[in-house]
Amino acid sequence: MLSRRRLLAAASSLGAGGLLLPRALRAAAPSGERKFLFVYCYGGWDTLQVFTPMFGVAGVDVPEGAELAEANGIPFVDHPNRPSVRTFFETWGHRACVINGMEVRSVTHERCRRLLFTGVGDGDADDWAVTAAALGEPRSVPHLVLSGPAFTSKHAASVVRIGESGQLPDLLDGTALSLADHPAGIPDAELAALEDAYLRAGLEAARADAPPGSPRRLVELYLDALDNLERLRASGEDVDLDPISSGCRRDLAEDAKVAFNAFELGLSRTALAKDLGWCSTSWDTHSDNEDMQGRNFEELFGYLGTALADLETRGSASGGRLADEVTVVVLSEMGRHPQLTGGGRGHWTYTSALLIGAGVRGGQVIGAMDDNFQGRPVDLGTGQLVDGGTSLLPGHLGATLLELAGIDPTDLTGGAEPIRAAIS
């Protein structure tokens, strides 16, 4: 993070200070600032399996053997093959808010993903998680990407990637130096410190001479990165960044544990974990939809339950309970067609999202699907379905998350307002 001295120097002379100033003016002391774990279900989930009960609606193929259930005020699709879903809503429903009928407004994965995370389909934009991290308190690992996408524009430096197979730990501890056809030994700590000091001295000298704009930004952010790297290393084994697999897939609860560790230590504000579904086959079920989506939801909710139980046991850097500071956001880039075709379901522009935990007004569902399986408009303030209300878009979700993060979303979501009914 920027030192106050460097920041003030930069702000006074940098035309590009707009990138740096807001961050610097915020308090540096750790607080109970809200944190976010994003769980991204890659490929497009079938909301009919859990979130959008549509029993008895003509033309909608509902899951065979499923029935309507309710727990903690949340109606959901219950199925004997998915006991974890029922257990989840029975245990955590009072802290969960389901958002239905959100239209992503595309049907291709790449575009939907970008739209869901940023609210815009083309051009550069920082996603919700990156924005919350970058505009939050200064942290050494602002946005921890355990796996999955990070869309960046102005705040790329806030993103810390673990790597799809956990390469970051290898880089941190020097194991990577042996993963080479021409390996090198891990430098002696004293020599490494000398090299770092030499590098920093050069960067400090360069900063003094660098013209405003990207030359100075590069040097400033490089110095920040070195500071943050030092802090990350100092956290040592408190944050084990190695991903853990369970059977033929990555263990999402373990990913959550890594994120919570980083939150506990005050290293990170946001984290992202990608869920690739059963045996990493993804949620994109153009065939065998019912079986595969069923497996995916059963595993997903099992992992979420485990993660939330873990969260309850943790304290935060501010001295409070971590559970009172963390919002879990579960989302997928698109929904699936209401009708089965050859056992699969095509893409659908409407999807759902699940918010759980801190700041969330739980025990409710906001939004719904109509008989054409299109989203119904809502009153953003009350969450009630109203004709002439607002049709939910990713921008509304983003505005809600930024509001939860204590960030004014006005200029960041293209005018979309928060779903205030989702906020406690």
């Binding site: 430096a157 790597g163 030359p215 790297l229 522009t349």
Partner: protein
Amino acid sequence: MTLVALLACATSTEPVDPRVELDAPRLLRRMSLDLRGVLPTESELDQVEADPTQLATLRDGFLEDPRLEERLVLLLAERWLTRVDDFELGPTDFHLDTDQEFALEKAVGEEPLRLMARVAVEDRPWTDTLTDETTVANELLGSIWPLDYPEGGTGWQAVRYTDGRPAVGVLATNGFWWRYVTNTSNMNRGRAAAVARLLVCQDILARPVSLEGASTLVDGLGIEEAIRTTPACVACHASVDPLASTLFGWWTVISYNPEELGNYHPEREMLGFDYLGVAPAWYGRPLGGLVDLGVAIAEDGRFPACAAETAAELLWRRPVTDADFDRVDGLRRDFLSSDLRYKQLLRAVTETPEYRVGSFVEGTADAQLDDEVTRRLLPPEVMAMAVEDLFGFRWSWGGYGQLENGDPGYRTLLGGVDGYETTRAQQDPGVTWAVGMERYAQLAATYAVAQGAVEVGAAVGEPAWEDEVRRLHWRLYAERPDDAALARASDFWVAVEARAGAEEAWTRLLSGMLRDARFVGY
């Protein structure tokens, strides 16, 4: 209206420009890295330092350098996004060893890029990228696909497919269609959108697709009806579907099958009409099939405009905006007047102030300072090229280029593009980048010193020591070290030498220099 559309009816004005050009040695360094992927030699730097007018001559020499082809592959990859880490098929599907995985992914992803790069370096019209009868393949691709690759041959060569596919350049490459896949509900529409975006800069997918208010969509037939009759749907599908209909020779009926995915299927070309209900066409121009598509695009006025816009984006290292209209239109006109020679386009882009900028005059608006990229971050693959040229070192491991893939390698962590989840090269250093750079520099420096690429015999206080440090500064940064820089290097070298000896001191010094902002930036 997109910039490309505006360019079709352009007039030109010349605004006052607040940009200050880089000094000649550092501009030469930028050009050398952008056009041939290596640092300029000391001799070349000496030339432009003594006579900055030599810059153009040297730049023109870079455009004739054999490494231009390799560099263009990397440059175009940032736009075409075909150098991905995974395709539907892997080495075992072709009875190859699993340690061929990276080689296979790299070769498949590079096939369309190699073809374009070859057209560029051979100074053929850029339209050849859409009409060429050949592709460019290496021995690995020659062993798995229906190509007339010469028996016993090696390396990237111009060869022909033998499965009856039309002569449509990159649109006839397996590598392109393996990256841009489709399925039974998408029906080649995503592929059509990719073609439009990449070749005429029309991003169809940027338009919102909303089902709100449509009344019969639950029924699958309702969607097909809406596509044909609902104005909001027709607006896109009227252009997408005929283009998608052109692409059914690439249709597969068995998933994950090497024969299906490796071959073109002329007998399936007519499926487009059956499945989509429309005949092949390119934006209203009827086509006999894929065979006509390349020419149709090549004759579209948006094609050269898009090539100019793309080249500007890739070399300016930032998105082109409407504010760049005049400049990009100038590039387009220049490109047209050269009969669409890509080298001339590259040359023209390197003449633009947006490319040559190193700083701004005092008082320049914050917005411009924020948006312009006056110092770029070296993409990992280019760094790999440059360091290999310098020291002979390439970070490879078990068949993988560690800066050229995201798993198990470090391409994404070092700011590179993986084609799916990262689609724009990172310009700002972060924690992951910093630690990745640290390890890469340590490996490269260790190798370089062990191989004698640095003169390690001299000690601080001896003229040879200072000469070597001065040489490294000049070569690595295109800057002469001042006394303070020499003093920092000297203090560091002495401190390490006292603890671990001269060889380690040179290793650490070189590692620190490779991590320096003046090396990783350009």
